[in-house]
């Protein structure tokens, strides 16, 4: 995913802000990393450039 996608992304559950942590990138493209919803205490992974924002709750972790 491109970093500027952060402008429109939000938590699928509470619609609050997500915090991006990048572990692998290529220019503007995030390949691996995490999107964290602090309000829900849930981490959503970014894998092979695709953020996985299927809704989940903290108890599923």
């Amino acid at each position: 995913m491109r970093k500027n996608l952060m402008e429109i992304l939000c938590c699928p559950v509470c619609k609050g802000e997500l915090e991006l942590t990048v572990t692998e990138e290529s220019g503007e493209e995030v390949l691996e990393g995490t999107l964290r919803c602090a309000a829900c205490s849930v981490d959503y992974p970014i894998s092979e450039g695709i953020p996985n924002l299927l809704p989940k709750t903290a108890c599923e972790d």
Binding site: M1, L9, V13, G49, I50, P51, N52, L53
Partner: protein
């Protein structure tokens, strides 16, 4: 859930478009007529393998299946893995939304329509393509082995039912192209 079947048979799903090129092109042409020129904030919900988003120039796709989402990404679409009923996109962020042959796989289309309404800008457009209940396409596919795998658990709606659900979720219908059991509806977010 029906999406498991897309994960498991993603290759078969994508091949359908090659094996049924005439039907695919006809659906694509009909959607193109009603879909406004997509800009950088256009989204396809249930982008699948990107067979509609890529030729139409829709830059962004939401897709629950990992396997199909990877195919769409290889076709140049920015893919977000997620569900139509819980879209991970902020209010008023999208200019237009496309959704083709998706509502038949949802438990209930209403939460998806509500989410699409939320993410659209005021006056934004939703274009829906769907197989009509008891129409020509639904009857044909139910007798066809390949597509049966995907459609056997599908729930089809009449054009009137879909229009009623759109009205209930804050959309006004702008245009309808209902032919041969496949409907394309363009609706605008008007409140």
């Amino acid at each position: 859930m029906s999406e498991d079947i897309f994960e498991q048979f993603s290759g078969d799903y994508d091949c359908w478009f090659e094996e049924h090129r005439a039907e695919y092109r006809a659906e694509l042409a009909r959607i193109r007529r009603l879909f406004p020129r997509p800009d950088s904030r256009a989204l396809e919900v249930g982008v699948g393998s990107g067979r509609f988003a890529a030729p139409l120039g829709v830059p962004l796709g939401l897709e629950p299946s990992r396997a199909l989402g990877r195919m769409a990404r290889r076709r140049g679409i920015e893919v977000i893995r997620g569900r139509a009923e819980s879209i991970p996109i902020r209010d008023g962020s999208c200019s237009s939304v496309l959704m083709v042959t998706v509502i038949c796989f949802l438990d209930d289309p209403v939460p998806a329509f509500e989410e699409i309404h939320r993410i659209l800008v005021p006056g934004g457009t939703l274009v829906l393509g769907f197989i009509e209940r008891e129409g020509e396409v639904a009857r044909k596919y139910l007798h066809e082995k390949g597509k049966h795998r995907f459609l056997s658990r599908a729930r089809f709606y009449s054009s009137g039912e879909v229009r009623e659900l759109l009205g209930r979720t804050g959309f006004s219908v702008m245009a309808i192209d209902s032919r041969a059991g496949f409907s394309v509806i363009a609706a605008r977010k008007d409140r």
